[in-house]
């Protein structure tokens, strides 16, 4: 049941070197640099997003994800979800408006898998980048690199998948769209709060709080292949692809930012899955795990499973 959570709104990623990271996220992924705050954090957005930013980079001594934020429909929704999060047993922290530039009050909470999330209702809207709000043209001509069109989802690694599933479905109103089952044990879960095949996903892993990737949306397979060319042209660290997933059936390529955080660009054209509230859960058996993850190779690569930040 929907409870007013609209979409993934932002992710704050730790990078080792801001200058290197900016070249990657701005010039290669094609995100737009929107702001730099007094802490030195840099804010970026993909061009189709209406809010001011979706990616916040913070220079730090370790790579990884600080938190992922979801935008909710109203402040009332945020306040009532705050109570439910406390009741569920989350540690809840109120972050005042303006701590992130242009963002209203945020409610930050921990999760059974050890990740930190936030909900917020207000963020400055600058509109789609490079096109007017009234009588808009199809796309802006001066995009860079892969020209990614939106921040789409994150995949996280952690131990208590059942706990985070309960938190996100019962408290936040997400639905389980796809899963991988090893007998009774759910070893991967893909959750949605929209029509997308996933807005957030987890893979079971012994360590808590690990970051597998942040994913950005492209429109076509051709654009995924073009991203692959750019990865080679600029000697970006490749993980795997271009290929297709069995899970979600997205067409994809994985690579790393200069600090070792994994990124994905993908498209859901030509058979990518979507979700309605009456869609049955799509289940893959662990015996078909290779095909579930990499539909063409049908074998897992070691790094995809083990290398996280």
């Amino acid at each position: 049941m929907k409870k007013g959570v609209m979409r993934p709104g932002h992710v704050q990623i730790r990078v080792l070197d801001m200058d290197e990271a900016l070249i990657h996220y701005r010039d290669r992924l094609g995100l737009i640099e929107m702001h730099k705050d007094s802490m030195g954090r840099v804010y970026l957005k993909a061009w189709t997003e209406i809010d001011k930013y979706s990616v916040v980079l913070r220079e730090a001594d370790e790579a990884g994800m600080d938190f992922m934020g979801f935008k909710v429909t109203s402040t009332d929704v945020m306040n009532s979800l705050r109570d439910e999060l406390k009741e569920f047993g989350c540690q809840v922290e109120n972050i005042p408006a303006g701590e992130l530039n242009g963002c209203g009050e945020r409610v930050r909470f921990d999760s059974p898998t050890g990740h930190f999330f936030e909900i917020y209702a207000e963020k400055e809207q600058t509109g789609k980048w490079g096109v007017t709000a009234r009588n808009p043209e199809a796309w802006p001509e001066d995009l860079k690199g892969m020209k990614t069109s939106r921040f789409d989802h994150c995949l996280l690694y952690g131990d208590d998948l059942d706990g985070s599933l309960e938190l996100f479905t019962k408290v936040l109103g997400f639905d389980l769209a796809e899963e991988v089952m090893d007998g009774d044990l759910r070893i991967a879960q893909f959750l949605t709060c929209s029509m997308k095949a996933h807005d957030i996903a987890w893979v079971r892993h012994e360590e808590k709080g690990k970051f597998h990737h942040a994913s950005f949306f492209l429109n076509t397979w051709e654009e995924v292949l073009r991203a692959a060319d750019l990865i080679s042209m600029h000697d970006i660290s490749l993980d795997i692809g271009p290929t297709r997933h069995g899970l979600t059936h997205g067409q994809t390529i994985y690579f790393f930012d200069p600090s070792g955080n994994r990124n994905e660009v993908f498209c859901d054209g030509a058979g990518g899955n979507y979700y309605y509230p009456d869609s049955p859960v799509i289940t893959w058996d662990a015996s078909e795990l290779g095909k579930a993850i990499f539909y063409h190779d049908r074998v897992l690569n070691e790094n995809f499973l083990g290398v996280v930040t």
Binding site: L16, D17, D61, E62, A63, G64, Y157, V180, D182, G183, L185, I187, A188, V203, R204, H205, E206, E207, S237, F256, D257, P258, S259, G260, N261, R262, A286, S287, L289, L300, E302, N303, L305, G306, V307, V308, T309
Partner: protein, 116 residues
């Protein structure tokens, strides 16, 4: 550009590396398989080694894997390490790469996945 020999301690396995290229990338380009490859960005720790002899410089690496004490012991990540002389190294892969993912082989439950 000056080339240096990079050798794995206790073996004859070696590759060449120029001063402007990280050890790990030079190794991969020569199709050698002496050091495990991870993110290639200093973030995941997969390619941790200890330099037993030789001079080197590094770029910034995750403190989680190369803290101050590790740095004093000449531990480093091969993806962020540039040779300044011939170098001999040994592998110091972090323990978290001993089969942690349940999808791979982390728990007894998942042995079923792997042994199938």
């Amino acid at each position: 550009m000056q080339m240096h020999k990079v050798r794995c301690a206790g073996t004859n396995a070696e590759f060449l590396c120029s001063e402007d290229r990280p050890l790990l990338i030079a190794m991969e380009r020569q199709a050698k398989d002496l050091i495990p490859v991870g993110c290639r960005g200093g973030g995941c720790g997969r390619c941790r080694i200890r330099i037993i002899s030789g001079d080197f410089e590094t770029k910034k690496m995750s403190k989680k894997f190369i803290g101050d004490s590790e740095q004093k012991e000449n531990l480093t990540l091969a993806c962020r390490t540039f040779p300044r002389s011939d170098v001999i190294f040994e592998l110091r892969t972090p323990t978290q790469y001993d089969n942690k993912s349940t999808m791979r082989a982390g728990s007894s439950d998942s042995q079923r996945v792997i042994n199938r």
